[in-house]
């Protein structure tokens, strides 16, 4: 079975998730800058989620690029990942609307955590299907960043109840770790994993 249609379907779902989030930026009543400023928490949430969905698209792109074939379990592991990612617009809006209250911040982290676990599961299914020593196994590697992300999400969820800004800050930290191609970070993470 070819992977082209899996890529096309995932691209479609990710593109829609990325774009419908902007529908949660409800047009404010009135033309003043104060009216606009009231959207700031929702906007900041939107920026973070836009970055996360783009990171997932980017990583998904790379992992599937190294894959040669897919099977039933891979299709379903991919659907499972898309399910958790599809909840990002909801979690984003709940967090923004409530100005980063503790529970919505924790739920946002839970959605990120479940998506990261789903991504990990997908990578295992792909490696299992392509076999040890395959190009795909080399491309995914030890996935130190992925394991680091899962640990930070779990910590951020718990810390959100003590101080919500710590939780929210940790989500930005993970996003930056994925965005900045810093060799030193990667080396440190590789040593620790």
């Amino acid at each position: 079975m070819g992977k082209q249609r899996l890529e096309a379907f995932s691209d479609g779902v990710l593109a829609i998730i990325l774009t419908i989030m902007v529908l949660e930026l409800k047009v404010p009543h009135g033309a003043s800058f104060q009216a606009l400023a009231s959207l700031l928490p929702t906007f900041v949430s939107y920026v973070l989620s836009f970055i996360y969905v783009a990171i997932y698209w980017n990583n998904h792109h790379h992992m599937l690029h190294a894959a040669g074939k897919v099977n039933g379990p891979i299709l379903w592991a991919n659907t499972h990942l898309l399910f958790w990612l599809s909840l990002i617009p909801f979690a984003t809006a709940w967090m923004g609307d409530n100005h980063f209250a503790a529970r919505p911040v924790a739920l946002y982290g839970l959605v990120l955590l479940m998506a990261a676990l789903a991504y990990y599961l997908l990578s295992r299914c792909l490696i299992h299907h392509h076999g040890a020593g395959s190009l795909l196994e080399a491309a995914v590697g030890a996935d130190a960043k992925g394991k680091f992300s899962i640990a930070v999400y779990a910590a951020a969820i718990l810390l959100s109840f003590a101080n919500r800004w710590v939780g929210f800050g940790l989500y930005w930290l993970v996003a930056l770790v994925w965005l900045v191609p810093d060799r030193r970070i990667e080396r440190v993470l590789a040593l620790r994993s």
Copy 2:
């Protein structure tokens, strides 16, 4: 006529159906867990519909993969299938908003039933176009699962008026039959068909 654009268009429509359902998960007022918990019926409906749309994408993918060419009737049978699938977000939201009341549960089943009949019709058009003994006919086979699904949907619609949880439970049963690749189920169904 090639099948690529038919696949691409169907993928697009299915990806949008899958994703816009999340817009029905209206962001609750307030940041409490109670506010979140009030969404539970809608969320459970969302999960079921996500699974169904993914099953349809998966089966559509496989059937078209075995197809080599398409014609006018196939294009329209495919559009007919997409029409019924496009009603899933509406039926999902009505069922969730009304906490699985009997009539919305029955309507949800009716949409599933019509989609299943449309899928069956599409498979007949494809087999007719490719001829007896074709790879496509072998791939679709006796379609015992498809016939079983149609029978269960019809029963579930009627049973919803007696006990709505029976109807709702049967929808999950059909989804599980498609999800779990149990050879024994397939063999039994094959014998009965």
Copy 3:
């Protein structure tokens, strides 16, 4: 310049137009059949528009299939067509919400008329680019159905103000002419054009 990305972009826009129309089927309050029945005008409008967008996708598919190359004017003629088609969800909802009042029925016809003119313009740009005697010119042909549709839309808009059901009925007539592959209709139209 290749035509693949033009096809992919048009497919994407048409798939989204087709699917977001269902968002106008607002979930009714209450679980009664009366609540559901109140949506009937919107649902009937939805069915008609679904058929029209599918017809456009189908015809666009066939015309571009015969095309070998595209240029700047073709890209813009295609965008112009997508613009008018993008107004179909709005016109559909206005017509359904107002239970087929005269003005919304006329506006719906105006959108169909402008889309049909835009499609005609696109076909002229394509034929001009491919030259007389090309496969594309043969595929488009005299386009008797297209000219017939334009005339009926114009008549339907005017007749809507006398009797809205005449206008609405004529839209269904045109849709049926495109759906039913009746050789006799095509022959008659070809003689008259």
Copy 4:
């Protein structure tokens, strides 16, 4: 790394941006022409934004067509462009709902300015990756129109506070410069740049 999936993902996002804008054309209460006329400012904003998104798709199409390969920075520069374009539906609706008040007109210009800067950045990343003397560098050229647009957007934002119609008029001027393939304009701009 191939460019196909980057093109497909960008097409998807642009197609969704283009189409969800129509959701801001809220269906008016009542079937009168006055009710329809009250949507005129939103409709005019919609037309302008439709043209802009189509211009971006068109230019993106051409630039990527000349590209042979992509890398990490290009992927992120592309995502950055999509981010600013994703804000166009919001800026369009705020401008239309407030009947072209000064601040919304200025914000609309700011979104256009940021998108134009993001496009410029993407073109630099692509040229850097393909090297001097590449086909891509020749295709992008001095990009006089791009630099002219950036200057006019900046002026329009400031002038919006003096007279909002000047700002709004300048956005139409830039759109026309991109739409009309006037060789003389291009030559003059090329001389000045």
